[in-house]
Symmetry: C2
Subunit: 220 residues, 2 copies
């Protein structure tokens, strides 16, 4: 009985005020020319995560990132080459990481999740699953803050949330919730880019952890 | 390159006031005679979950259960037979489900998670991972209530939490938290088993969902 195992890696970033995902154009059959999530077969002597890191590097030039295992997809007919089970990983990385396409793929490109092209295999399903997981993570991790500079305005914070969630949030409600949580420290510094100066804040990760321990999260 | 794929199934239940896990004694090498999590190789034409349900049935006689995928374990040297990647599933089932040992395993037994025997392969690691996931789920799902009868006392509820968490909870604190959440409706009925009658309650799943939407969870 011959089952083969691949890894696939969903890489998200916020770029140009949109949540984008890193895709490659397949250089070989099946689905030659179609866009796909970076990935490939697991080698004999590497762990699943090592395989994911290697494929990501080879196909996109993105170096080592903090990957989380997402899910394993194993429907019998998901790959026309035969029985292939894939272990999917995902990560959210800063939008300015450099890319270079490697040998397996003819090109790696960022693509807004709201405007996906047709994808190879069951990659659309894998991507939707990763997106749902990422959005859930906003509630109980500091993932939203990791994408901001150390000092940020409330508008910048709201924009990160809106971008990952893919929808507008009410400004008054957003600020009321943030206020209640007391996880930000206001600084005596202002950003002078908009029409009027906007106060800068820093995130207080320890307060966030305490809220989590008390069972209070951060949903919008 | 030959990688083989198995599924392993961690089944928890509360039995005799303890969190227990369903183990089989291996009838064949490797690790012949050693206790292990039920599982086995994925067949050509079945999905991963179908394989998990089949192995569970064959090895323990537990019929169809609601399985959740836990994690895929794929360290290169985790199995002495060669490269084997396993996709682990888990479930929490009622403690009175009947068992019968099938053909692959010489026996299936319940074992308290606090008194595990030495296990085959990396099964101790898989089990610890499942236990952590189950304990986390107490915070944001109704898993704790699914194990209770429709009408229950606060002591019975506390005992379910204590059993899954594997530690005692302060009775006053527990009741204060439950009170604040307002997810139980007190009945005009009492249980007359202990020294004094204990009031019965029913769980209000809709209130629980609303709390979750507001970001308030249920941690102890």
């Amino acid at each position: 009985m011959s089952i083969r195992v691949t890894v696939d890696v969903v890489i998200f970033a916020i770029r140009e005020a949109a949540l984008q995902v890193l895709l490659i154009r397949r250089g070989v059959a099946p689905f030659k020319g179609r866009m796909a999530i970076p990935g490939g077969f697991v080698h004999e002597n590497e762990s699943l995560e090592e395989a994911a890191q290697r494929e990501l590097e080879e196909e996109t030039g993105v170096g080592k990132v903090y990957l989380e295992q997402l899910y394993s997809f194993g429907e019998p007919r998901r790959d026309p080459r035969g029985r292939v089970i894939t272990v999917a990983y995902y990560a959210l990385i800063p939008g300015d990481r450099p890319l270079h396409a490697g040998s397996d793929a003819s090109s790696a490109v960022w693509c807004p999740v709201e405007r996906l092209p047709p994808l190879a295999f069951d990659h659309e399903g894998i991507l939707c699953y990763a997106l749902e997981r990422l959005r859930n993570k906003l509630d109980y991790t500091t993932v939203g803050f990791q994408l901001l500079p150390r000092k940020f305005t409330l508008s910048e914070l709201q924009r990160v949330y809106e971008t990952i969630l893919g929808r507008k949030l009410d400004k008054r409600n957003f600020r009321k919730k943030i206020d209640l949580l007391k996880i930000l420290r206001p600084l005596r510094e202002w950003r002078h880019t908009g029409r009027k100066p906007a106060r800068l804040y820093v995130f207080l990760p320890k307060k966030f952890e305490k809220l989590k321990d008390r069972g209070i999260l951060f949903p919008f």
